[in-house]
């Protein structure tokens, strides 16, 4: 529902995911992203741990950096994340709490 409301582009889209790794919430997020084959997610929490209150601002910052640098992130986990080689002019940031609440933001080049 959130992804519908975000008005996402139809072309290939890089997504920075703030997924915590909590089993139920992360499985639900993955199912929602997998249902859209044009989305290439990059989940970073294995590298940083979960930043709690700062998780979503950090996610949006990573999305903005990718847009500003005109460079996608490599797969953080090649076994689970598909390649994305294009210059990203839009990047989706997602956050699904480990227990409650979720949100997304689409970051676009100015």
């Amino acid at each position: 529902m959130l992804l519908d409301a975000a008005g996402l582009p139809q072309n290939d889209l890089l997504a920075v995911s703030g997924a915590s790794g909590a089993h139920a919430a992360t499985a639900a997020e993955r199912a929602a992203l997998d249902a859209r084959p044009n989305i290439a997610p990059r989940a970073f929490a294995t590298l940083t741990g979960h930043l709690k209150e700062a998780q979503f601002p950090f996610t949006v910052a990573l999305a903005a950096l990718a847009v500003a640098n005109k460079a996608p992130y490599p797969a953080f986990d090649a076994g689970n994340e598909k390649p994305f080689e294009e210059i990203p002019d839009q990047v989706l940031a997602t956050t699904v709490g480990y227990h409650r609440f979720e949100g997304v933001a689409l970051v676009r080049a100015a």
């Binding site: 227990h99 409650r100 609440f101 949100g103």
Partner: protein, 423 residues
């Protein structure tokens, strides 16, 4: 024909529903009758043992089913009860509200019922190991939820069908006013056609009492509880910890009138200013409180001459009441001696996270009813702060505008300006 845009071209924000619960009772009717009769809701604490405590009185809400079930359960019930009254009055849907929720509520901790249940839940003589074992085996989502700050708003959002991510906020004693400010600003930005703003606090726990006592903030006038809260009196000796809630339904005036709603008042302006001086003391020159009042007046598009009544923060602490007088004297000049100013806290105590919302609700009722609730227990006026505190007895008055102050302990100051009628 009312104007639908304010002096800055923003939508005028109307109040179409009010709900309130305090130690004086449940609902507007019970509260208003007690407030205007000058009745106090302060009473001896019975919820937990008070042996060896220097403060043994509070304005707790002891008459709800959740009153003995811990801070999370009681705060939820207080918020829900006030919201039901407000939404019903507004005539909007009780289960499909259709606008955002802003909840001011206290920080929560695991309740003693649950802590003791964990402590007693196993046989391992090593206490710390036992607690870990019991907690792991129990793995109780229900218990976990009561310790989560966002849980109460999440339940309320489901209960009333509010939209978007429910916002839970805490700006200390200004929280209730901040919740209203966020609702007003959401409507002004054109984000929504209605907003539900709630302040609720059911956290008068033993820890809260002891912590505020250690700050020397609480009255220790235990012998006659109803006389303990005495704002602006010379012998004031601290605030009285209390519980309660209030909910406001906010709508653009235009939308509210178009659907035939009764307009209970107008939220004209909000102002805030942080005080960076000290963790609990206010800046000696009063500049943050002065700036908050001025910001609210500017936001409302009113001059200081156009405020008819002030609903004081008036906590009854030596520091606050002196500082509030200094700040208001600076803003209003000599006229401050003639503006009626009363403190609801003289009767209900300090409801902390809920205070700003409850006092906004009472301010709106004060204008609508044309009756100012008194400051009770004003038996020994403080000559250093000469004010017309509407001493001890209610007063009839034709009031067009009110300033309601919330000056938080931790430096969060928020002021609201309300009007009886649209312009």
């Amino acid at each position: 024909m009312a104007r639908f845009e304010d002096h800055l071209g923003r939508p005028v924000v109307a109040v179409t529903g009010i709900g309130v619960v305090t130690s004086l009772g449940k609902g507007k009717a019970e509260n208003w009758a007690a407030l205007t009769a000058g009745k106090s809701g302060i009473h001896p604490i019975t919820r937990f043992p008070v042996d060896h405590l220097s403060t043994r009185i509070a304005g707790m809400v002891d008459f709800l089913p959740s009153s003995s079930k811990g801070a999370s359960a009681l705060t939820y019930e207080l918020a829900e009860t006030a919201a039901i009254e407000a939404i019903e009055e507004s005539g909007l849907s009780r289960d499909d509200f259709g606008g955002p929720l802003f909840l001011a509520s206290p920080p929560v901790e695991l309740d003693w019922h649950d802590r003791l249940a964990l402590y007693k839940g196993g046989a391992n003589p090593d206490t710390s190991q036992r607690l870990l074992e019991v907690a792991r085996a129990q793995n109780s989502l229900e218990m976990f939820d009561t310790s989560q700050f966002g849980f109460i708003a999440d339940r309320l959002a489901d209960r009333f069908g509010t939209t978007g991510l429910p916002i839970t906020l805490s700006t200390a004693c200004a929280s209730g006013a901040t919740a209203i400010q966020l609702g007003v600003e959401a409507i002004r930005r054109g984000e929504c056609d209605r907003a539900l703003a709630i302040g609720a606090d059911g956290s008068a726990t033993a820890e809260a009492l002891i912590r505020f006592n250690l700050l020397s903030a609480l009255s220790t006038s235990n012998e006659v509880p109803e006389k303990a809260s005495k704002p602006f009196s010379k012998d004031r000796d601290g605030f009285v910890l209390a519980e309660g809630s209030a909910a406001l339904v906010l709508e653009p005036l235009e939308t509210a009138l178009a659907r035939g709603a009764t307009i209970l008042g107008i939220l004209r302006g909000c102002g805030e200013k942080a005080d960076d001086f000290h963790r609990t003391r206010s800046k000696p020159d009063g500049s943050p409180a002065i700036a908050a009042v001025k910001a609210a007046l500017a936001d409302a598009g009113l001059s200081e001459d156009e405020i008819d009544y002030i609903n004081a923060h008036g906590t009854s602490t030596p520091e606050n009441d002196k500082m509030e007088h200094l700040s208001l004297s600076t803003v209003f000049g000599e006229r401050i001696a003639r503006i009626p100013i009363s403190s609801n806290k003289s009767m209900i105590g300090h409801t902390l996270s809920a205070a700003g919302a409850i006092e906004a609700a009472f301010s709106l009722m004060t204008m609508r009813e044309g009756v100012i609730p008194p400051t009770i227990n004003y038996d020994n006026p403080d000559p250093a702060i000469p004010l017309d505190v509407v001493p001890n007895v209610k007063r009839e008055a034709n009031l067009r505008t009110v300033l309601s102050n919330s000056f938080g302990f931790g430096g969060q100051n928020t002021c609201l300006v309300m009007a009886r009628e649209p312009v």
